[in-house]
Structures are given as C-alpha cells and as structure tokens.
C-alpha cells in the first residue's frame, strides 16, 4: 500500500500547490467563487463525518450553517469582536446545539432521527426569519468587515485565510478518522452491538459526531458570512440542508476525499451549468436521484473501487488458497496474548460465577435460575438444544440483556452494575453467533477496534496527530499484526472484511476478540459453518489461546468439537441448567440425552 499512500500524498500536495498559486490566474469575481467552494468543502467534510462515518442522518445542516453565519456576524457587529474569536464563538454555539440535537439520535434512528433534525431545522429557520430585531428578518443583514492583523479579509487575503482554515479542517478530520475514533464511528455504523461489546461508548460517540459536524457547519457558516458580507435567511433553509446532503452523497459517503469532490462539483455547478442557469437546481435533484439509484457510493467510491480492483487482484490469490494447517505456534503470539490480558485471580475461586440468573421476555422465560461457574484456565462448554438460552446467557454476560434476577460475579466483581461498553475493560470479550464483522473496514482495522478500550489517545491528540498518538497507533498495529499472525491472517490484513469467506471472517472475529485482551473469552458457535479441517484448526487455536493464559467459555453444537476440547460442560435446556460435569458425564446423563433426542432414547442410555 506504500505506493498508493505516497501517490496519494503527491496528489494532495499537487492540489494544494495549485490552490496556492490559483489567484494569479483568476479574476476577482472568480476568486470569490473559489472561496465559496472552499467554504462548502468544510461543510461537506463535517456532514460526511456524521452521515458517512457514523451513519446518522441530519436534515439540519443548513440551520447549523445559518447559526454559525449569524452568530459570527452578530458577535462582530454587536460585541465588536475580531473575526477569529467570533468564529470560535460560532463553533462553540453550534457544537453545543449539535450536541443537543444529537440526543434524540441515541434513542431513535433512521427516519425518526431525520424528523427530529427536520424539526430543529424548521425552528431555526423560523427564529431567524422572525427575530427581526436581532437578525434583520427577511431583509437580512450586512456583515461588518473582518480584519486580521494588518489585513482586511477581502479578495486575496480572504482567499488565503479561508484556504488555510479549510486545509486545517480537512487535516483534523482526516487524522481523527484514521485514529481509533474513526474506527469507532464506522463500527457504530456497521454493527452497533459489536462495537459496544468491543468497548465503544456508542452514546458518547454519536453525540460527539453530531457536535463535531455541527461545529464544522458553524465554522463554514461564519466564513460564508464574511465572504458574502451579507446575511440572507433564505440561504439557510431546508433546501440548503438538502444541497449539503447532495454534496456528501455525490462525492462519496465515508471517504476522505469524497466531501471535497462533492462540494466542489455542487458549488461549482452554477458556473459549470452556465447554459442551464435557470434550471440548475432541477438538474441537481435529477442528478441526486440518478446517484441514489445507480451509484449510491458516489464519485469517490467509484474511484476507490477502481483502485482496489487493481490492488486486491494481488491479494485475491491468497484469499482463495487452501488454509495452511499450522498450529498457530508463532512464538511471539503467546507472549502478545498474555501481555494483553488482565491478570486473573489466582486465589482458587472461580473466574466467573453465575448465580440464579433469570431473563424473561414478556411471558417467555429465556433463562430461569441458571447457575454455574467457570474456573480460571479451563475451557468450558455451554451446550444445549436450540432455544435453550445459550446465546441469551452470553448476552447477559456482555450486558446486552438485563436479567430480571440473579447475579454475575466476574474476577471478583459484580457485573450487573457495569455498563455494556465497559465490560471489555474488565477482561470479558466475545464473538457472535452470526459473525458481526465491521464489513466496511479492513481485517487489520477490525482487529484494531478490539483494542479500542486500551488505547488512551484523546480526541485532540488524535485530530492533531501528535507524536504520542502516532506512537500508540504504531504499537497497536504491531500487536494487532502479531495476533493476525497467530491466526495465519497476516497476509489478509488489508483485505476488506465483507469480501472474505465465512470461515475466514470467523477467524478475524476471533482475532478481534483476542485483541481486546480478555481474561475470559466467550465464543458463540465458533465452529458453525466451518469445514472439517477448519474446525480442527480452530480446536488447535483455542487450545493455544488457553495455553497463553486465557480462559474460554464456548457455545457449540458440534459434539466432536465440544468433547475434544472442553474440560467441563454446562448443559442448558429450555432456559434451565440440567447438567454440570465432564464431557463424558454429560454424554451419559439421561436428562441430556432426553433433551437432545427425546424421552424414549433416554431409557436406552
């Protein structure tokens, strides 16, 4: 990928150079035009973080831009502030409001969220239009001249100022999205529950995404105000929000350059469509619909796919090659795994104690009075016929379900008070029955999400790409690569997760769960869908994992797997425990046989 990275850097530098030299070639009104384009790229970058990366929808972006514009102008005219503190003030206000608007996002999604943002948009429009004494109402308002040091921000100085701000905005977003925050956002978009289990605080991240995109819109609004030098409330209506949506979709959601491309094309459209001046909006909407129907990934993703087609052709041969049957004995791996894990108790007490746990859904008791323990260092099986409540038990352990009774003590700690995204910090990590891959990320990135909770870098240090954060990322990549090596996945580390066969995806999910540094690893039907040889390989891997100091609790239907691997077994049937013992004891137990095969066979045991 180094060739690709350096060629991207080169392209970026070339674009920047062109932008710096551009004024020499343009007339004054053309320069004004390009300045407006730059302002819109800031808007698009912000909205892309919310929609493209976090997967939340907002129809309120026009309102936030308007809020930023009016706040900046009013801070300058009423309070006499200089343009820089005025812009900062605008960003603080819009970020705070964006945070508030994001709160509904925590409970509702999709179209309900869009409605909530629509409501906010309409409220802001109405307030701006009617609070005539403050905003000038429908007549608008002049914006005072902005000065920065010796320069008045008009024409050339304004252009360079906006260019600088746009560049900083782009770099900050890029750094943030490449860090653990970006991965967390994509994780939320792809599989919220899996992201939570891996330690991502979904609530915080969603409201943060709203606040950040609003701040970007507010900043752009302020720059828009000083560029146009006049505020017109009609520039910030719901149709403006739709224009922003078109920009991010056209450019390509969830890509870094997408918003830049989209903003440029849409903002430049009035010029490009000179001939159709009057109907440019009509063309916008027709274009939008075409995009949604035929190319929802936008321009950037089309380009991306082209690039990947060239790059992954080299990887394709590895993905389809037969799996090597090594035993994952890469020497560094065990050291890495043990180093990642929190220390388990060594006082002879059980690692996990489940006592009297019950879960009811309406009238159905998924689990009733379930009690069992898991000792440190063992591989324990949790088996039972379909519907017995095994996955429900796992969901209780990872706090996805709240039990109606009972208690769970892990490593000496009462688990039921702990929040879902904090479980992984205590040393509990899991895989899922239906593989919950973060499909739009690479294998390496998926594993890095597993390390989310152990990384310390703050928002600011990530956005600014400080040395400490970069170092932490490098170390994380090293550890993640070691784990991938352990599972023979290193060659696939840059492959997109959603393009892998099921067996490989399961191994990636295992790697991700290991990267979380668990003391207790929960595996939910890990052998399901695997070929015979893949299952053998998995058995060897689980043994190696246990040998490195991690305790394992697994759900499985494959009896060969269970009998060959487990030290002890708990059997569930219809939500109740019916047997606890060694695999042989379980196999001979009449109640167990009855649960699986029916009453008549039990008497033949």
């Amino acid at each position: 990928m180094t060739t690709s990275t350096s060629s991207r850097r080169l392209a970026g530098a070339a674009v920047l150079a062109a932008l710096i030299l551009l004024p020499a070639a343009l007339a004054s009104f053309q320069l004004y035009f390009v300045t407006i384009i730059l302002v819109y790229t800031i808007v698009a970058i912000g909205l892309n973080i919310l929609m493209g990366y976090t997967g939340q929808i907002s129809v309120a972006n026009g309102a936030f831009m308007g809020l930023g514009a009016y706040t900046t102008a009013l801070l300058m005219s009423l309070l006499g502030l200089n343009v820089l503190p005025a812009l900062v003030g605008a960003m603080v206000l819009t970020a705070a409001l964006g945070f508030l608007v994001g709160i509904p996002a925590l409970r509702i999604r999709g179209h309900y969220l869009a409605l909530a943002t629509l409501a906010f948009q309409l409220i802001v429009e109405t307030v701006i239009m009617n609070w005539t004494s403050l905003t000038g109402g429908p007549n608008g308002q002049k914006v005072p001249d902005a000065t920065l040091g010796p320069w008045t921000l008009k024409d050339l100085p304004l252009y360079y100022f906006v260019l600088l701000v746009a560049l900083l905005a782009f770099l900050f977003a890029r750094n943030l999205l490449r860090s653990r925050f970006g991965r967390a956002l994509i994780g939320i978009r792809d599989h919220e529950v899996a992201a939570t289990v891996m330690g991502v605080d979904v609530t915080w991240h969603k409201t943060f995404a709203f606040a950040l995109s609003s701040a970007y819109a507010g900043l752009a609004g302020g720059l828009f105000a000083i560029t146009v030098a006049f505020l017109d409330p009609l520039a910030f209506t719901v149709w403006e929000s739709v224009k922003h949506l078109i920009m991010v979709i056209l450019g390509g959601l969830g890509t870094l350059v997408g918003p830049v491309i989209g903003a440029t094309l849409i903002a430049a459209a009035p010029e490009l469509l000179r001939g159709f001046r009057e109907h440019s909006l009509l063309i916008y909407y027709a274009l939008l619909l075409m995009l949604l129907l035929f190319m929802p990934g936008g321009v950037a993703s089309g380009l991306e796919r082209l690039l990947r087609a060239i790059v992954t052709r080299r990887h394709a041969s590895i993905a389809t090659a037969p799996e090597p049957l090594g035993t994952g004995s890469a020497p560094g791996a065990k050291a890495v795994l043990s180093a990642l894990a929190p220390v388990a108790r060594s006082d002879g007490k059980p690692l996990l104690e489940v006592s009297g746990v019950g879960v009811t859904f309406g009238g159905l008791a998924a689990l009733s009075n379930v009690s069992f323990t898991v000792s440190p260092g063992e591989i324990k099986g949790l088996i039972g016929p379909n519907g017995a409540g095994k996955t429900s038990m796992f969901n209780v352990l990872t706090r996805v379900y709240q039990p109606t009774s009972g208690s769970v003590v892990f490593n000496g700690q009462e688990l039921l008070q702990v929040k879902a995204h904090e479980i992984v910090k205590l040393g509990l990590s899991r895989t899922f029955q239906n593989v919950e891959m973060f499909g739009s990320m690479t294998v390496l990135e998926n594993v890095l999400v597993g390390m989310h909770h152990s990384l310390q870098a703050s928002l600011l240090s990530s956005g600014l790409a400080l040395g400490s954060q970069q170092r932490e990322e490098r170390e994380a990549v090293e550890k993640a690569t070691a784990i991938l090596k352990f599972l023979d996945l290193e060659g696939l580390k840059d492959a997109m997760a959603n393009q892998l066969p099921l067996g490989t995806q399961r191994r990636v999910e295992l790697a991700r769960a290991l990267a979380a540094g668990p003391t207790l690893l929960l595996l939910d039907e890990p052998a399901s869908g695997l070929t015979h040889s893949e299952a053998d390989r998995l058995m060897a891997d689980v043994r190696a994992i246990r040998d490195s100091g991690i305790t394992v609790l697994l759900i499985e239907h494959d009896m060969r797997f269970v009998m060959g691997l487990c030290d002890s077994i708990t059997v569930l049937d219809r939500g109740e425990v019916i047997c606890i013992g060694t695999p042989d004891e379980a196999r001979a137990n009449p109640r167990v046989i009855e649960a699986y095969l029916g009453k008549e066979n039990a008497s033949h045991a």
């Binding site: 929609m51 997967g55 929808i57 129809v59 709160i103 509904p104 409970r107 509702i108 999604r109 999709g110 179209h111 309900y112 969220l113 869009a114 409605l115 909530a116 629509l118 409501a119 906010f120 309409l122 409220i123 109405t126 307030v127 009617n130 609070w131 529950v193 149709w239 739709v242 949506l245 078109i246 979709i249 009057e278 109907h279 909006l281 009509l282 916008y284 909407y285 027709a286 939008l288 619909l289 949604l292 129907l293 929802p296 969901n395 996805v400 379900y401």
Partner: protein, 308 residues
Amino acid sequence: MPFAAGRGSRCASMEGGLEVSTVIQLLVNSLTLGAIYALVALGLVLIFKASHLINFGQGSWVMAGAYIALTLLLAGLPMWAVLILSPIAGGVLGYLLDILVFRRLSKASAWIFVVATLGVGGLLHQIASAIFEENVYAFPPMLSTEPQQVFGIFFTAQNLWVPGAALAVFGALYLFFEYTRVGKAMQAVAQNRIGAQIVGINLQAILALTWALSAGVSTVAAMLVAPQVGISPAMGLLVIKGFVAAAVGGFESLGGALVGGLLVAVVESLTNTFVSTAFKDVVVFGLLLAVMWVRPTGLFGHAATRRV
C-alpha cells in the same frame, strides 16, 4: 397568516379574553386547518404503514396535486370534474414515481430513502417553478365564503366543506381497508410483508397502489387548502406541519392522523391568538422535536422492539 378561516375569524380577538365563545371560535377555526394537516398526515401514514418509511417530500406532493388541479381548471373543465379527476391524476403521478424511483430503492438503507424522498420533493418543486414560475394562482373555493353566525360563532360554508370533505376521505379509506379485498391486502402488507407475499399478495402492486393513494390524498388536501393560500411552488412548505400531525398521532393509523391533525391545528391556533403569530411555528415544530425526544412513535403508535 395564511390560514384565516374566512372572514368569520375576525372575532377571535383578544377582547373576549378567555371566554368560552372565544375558545369555541378558535376550535371552529382550527377545524379547517386541522382537516388539511390530517390529510397531509394521512398521506404520510399510508406510505409508512406499507413500507415503514417516511416520505419527506410529502409537502411537494401536495403542491404537485394543486398544480394538477390548476392545469385541469385552466384547461376549461368544470369544477366537479376537476374535483374528481385531479386526485386520480395525482394518483397516477404517485404510481409513476414509485415505479421510477422508490421501487428500486426498496432494499436500500434508511438514509438513502430519506434523501430520495427529499430529492423527489425537490425535483417536483423545481419542475413546478420551471413551468409555472413563482406566480401565485388563485383557486376558487368550493362553497360560499359568506360568514354565517350561529350562537355567536362565525363560520363560512367553506369552513364546513373542508373538514367535511376530509372526513369523507378518511371514512372512505377506512371502509376500503376494512371491507374490500385490496384494502385487506394492504393491511396484510403493512403487518407482515413476507407473510403477505407467501399467501399470494402481489407486493409490488400493493406498494404502487399505496403511493398512488398517498398522492391522491395529497391532491385532495391541495384542492381544499388552495382557495385560502393560492397555488405557488412554495405551497409545500405551508403544509409541512402535516409532519408534526403524523408524528403526534403516530405514523401507524388513520385515527392517529386525524387526531394529530386536529391537535396540531388547535395548538397552532391557540399559540397564534394568545402568544404571538411569530411564535406559533416555533411551538408547533418544537412539538415535533418533543415528540421525537419523548415518544417517537406518537400517541397511537407501537414502540418497536430491537432485535439483538
């Protein structure tokens, strides 16, 4: 303030204070407004029930319906013909939009659909602007706008016609859903899409019919509101409060749309009279925000459970 309910509303002034007659006058005025909102909400509910998605461009569909009626009227057709043919033509438009756009997005994620409905709405708006420009056209009222007075309450015949027509539409749809085969098929699709297909219901046809019905209902709303506000491309924005009505009532039932429409109209009228005209929009949209915060499924909707 566009929705003055005929000349009869002049009496809803502050002089009466909180007299019963003032409040009753307000409620009577709200009936017209409420009927419009209820019809817009109905259009939204129809789509939501069938496909669990919200048509964010519904306002533009009302506007499109108004222009269809205008075109037929300007072509010389008598009023009664316009009243009957316009919803049918509107329905055809809805059907076409389903075939061309929405049907192809049936498997897409929520945001794609939301943006698509906004896109269609915007497109309709722009086409109307392109053809008819920004002029405001007058549309004749169906019945007289002479104020009558009964027990001190003013109203006009048009004031009664609008809610009456709306109730007729609601009633007709109710009967359609309960007592016809196609109506029941639509209910089936709303409740269990896969199950409906298994028993042989043609999903595509039902969905297309739903869009047609929604567009037809929006056209009726347009014809009822047009006499008071005139026909212009910006019409859609006037009825955007229909969204609040649908949200308040919950997107899932006819009754919800009706109650929601009335409630929003009453809130708007009360705010307009006792607080200020500028504030009424903020209060109504604030109501939408509040509903989304507190109870997104509205008064009559069912909370959806999440599968893990």
